[in-house]
Amino acid sequence: MAKTTTDESTAPGSFAPVPLLSNSYNFQDLLKASDHVDTLKSDEGRSKALGDIATKSASLQDVIAGIDAPAVPEGSRMEETEDSTGRKVMGAVAIPDTTSDEQPAK
């Protein structure tokens, strides 16, 4: 079945630039950006604006990718330990090997 609905913003179009905070705008920025608003009317201007937005999104992905969890080596697990100053921190601790090849006692 064909998709008949799309996600579209119903926000008013009269304040195009990104707000400073919620619905707060610097009027001088709006004035400078008024030409940019006009370029959005052309396909070329629109694709440039969308390109700018895509670039910003990509850089946000880089930021998210950079926030990695600390690596835990194989055979270790994260446990609360003490660092050199005696402060309690989370760190990788080797899991003790509790298996052996011994035969069970008969």
Binding site: S14, L20, N23, N26, Q28, D38
Partner: protein, 397 residues
């Protein structure tokens, strides 16, 4: 143990960037207010279980709905230049009520082009080509009044990008044919469509204890501008109330409001008032929003719902004008023809503590005689009609 004194109270409000996460107000977020009205109400459901008694089973407690409100006497943020985005605590109430903040930190100047009238100015070449771009912004010109004064400042009612003509919310004695104009530095609030309204966090201290509310939405708002004089000594104010989700209260001593947050509130006099372009006498102008709030249901949330939002609202202007001769102002004709009428009110003398409030277009209901202090007044209501930028409040620097 000493009691809690009701005069020792304060209210702080912040913009809450993350839904569900309370944003603690601090000293800089205090709003000078009269006695606050806050608390929480029970959300309950009926339990239809029969118990063998004639009496119904006790209601089931589902949670609490928080509310907070107060009256803030209108005083500006002061300083020599407009503060930053939503830095003025009262701005957060305005943003929460659906206004958009336009900060103009520096004056925009130009020379009026030919073609201006007594109610419009043709702005200089290079002005924005976008329709309605300057709507609600203040503008100064020698024909409006004294340079740099509140009487010399008007609000832009409408702007045509193709002709660069800015219509004013008042009618002047002399047409603006030429001469310099200034769009002064200002903190201007224009009522937008309300499609995007920020959430608020609110904290109310009463002597040694503080109640807190998150995910708040403004549920009622009124801008009250009574003329101050011998027989009426009230000051302009903003009345507001909000609903939200209560956050556990804490024991905290009420903070003191700093002197810089307590500029003398300017009375509404020695300014200007124009109705349908005409400067005439009146006693009060009151703009009211009745707002309907609600929260989308969501079982994944502890409260069974998401944060509160404004869903719909009505805008009403209440006016108490002095009775006028038919030859001066034919109110009945304006009502019968449903003519679009502008309204402008300006008061205050000091930079950062003087105001212009305006409604660019409104339709009138019938006005009726109402005795007032021995004189005949006419009172009635009007409905702002613009979809976007339907009300403006500007703090002039």
């Amino acid at each position: 143990m000493a009691g809690f004194k009701e005069n020792i109270a304060a209210l702080g409000v912040t913009i809450q960037p993350t839904p569900g996460v309370y944003n603690e107000p601090g000293q800089a977020d205090l709003l000078p207010i009269s006695a606050p009205d806050d608390g929480s109400d029970a959300i309950t459901g009926d339990d239809p279980t029969l118990t063998g008694s004639i009496f119904a089973a006790p209601r089931q407690f589902l949670g609490r709905r928080g509310r907070a409100g107060a009256t803030a006497i209108l005083r500006g943020p002061g300083g020599t230049a407009p503060p930053g985005a939503a830095a003025w605590p009262l701005a957060r109430i305005l943003l929460g009520a659906g206004f958009t903040e336009l900060i103009n930190p520096t004056a925009i100047t130009g020379t009026a082009a030919a073609g201006g009238t007594t109610s419009s100015i043709v702005m200089a070449a290079g002005s924005s080509a976008i329709d309605d771009f300057y709507n609600g912004m203040p503008i100064q010109h020698a024909n409006i009044g004294g340079a740099g004064t509140i009487r010399g400042t008007s609000l832009i009612r409408d702007y045509d990008g193709a002709t660069r003509r800015a219509t004013l919310m008042e009618t002047l004695a002399t047409a603006i044919a030429t001469g310099g104009y200034i769009i002064p530095p200002s903190l201007t609030y224009v009522l937008s469509t309300g499609a995007q309204i920020p959430l608020l966090s609110c904290k109310v201290w009463r002597h040694k204890k503080a109640r807190k509310y998150r995910d708040c939405a403004i549920s009622s708002f009124a801008l009250n501008i009574p003329v101050s004089n011998d027989q009426n000594t009230d000051l302009p104010s903003i009345e507001f109330a909000m609903v939200g989700v209560p956050v556990p209260a804490t024991d905290e001593t009420t903070p003191l409001i700093s002197t810089s947050q307590l500029l003398p509130p300017p009375p509404a006099k020695a300014g200007k008032f124009a109705f349908a372009g005409l400067k005439l006498g009146h006693q009060t102008m009151r703009l009211e929003f009745a707002l309907e709030t609600g929260a989308p249901p969501n079982q994944n949330f502890d409260a069974g719902q998401e944060g509160y939002e404004i869903m719909s609202g009505t805008r009403t202007v209440n006016l108490d004008l002095n009775e006028q001769l038919m030859a001066s102002l034919d109110l009945d004709s304006l009502v019968d023809t449903q003519a679009s009428v502008p309204l402008l009110s300006g008061w205050g003398q000091n930079v950062g503590n003087r105001f212009l409030a305006g409604v660019p277009n409104m339709f009138l209901d019938p006005f009726n005689p109402a005795p007032r202090n021995g004189f005949v007044g006419v009172s009635g209501t009007a409905s702002p009609s613009d979809v976007d930028r339907s009300v403006a409040l500007s703090v002039i620097y």
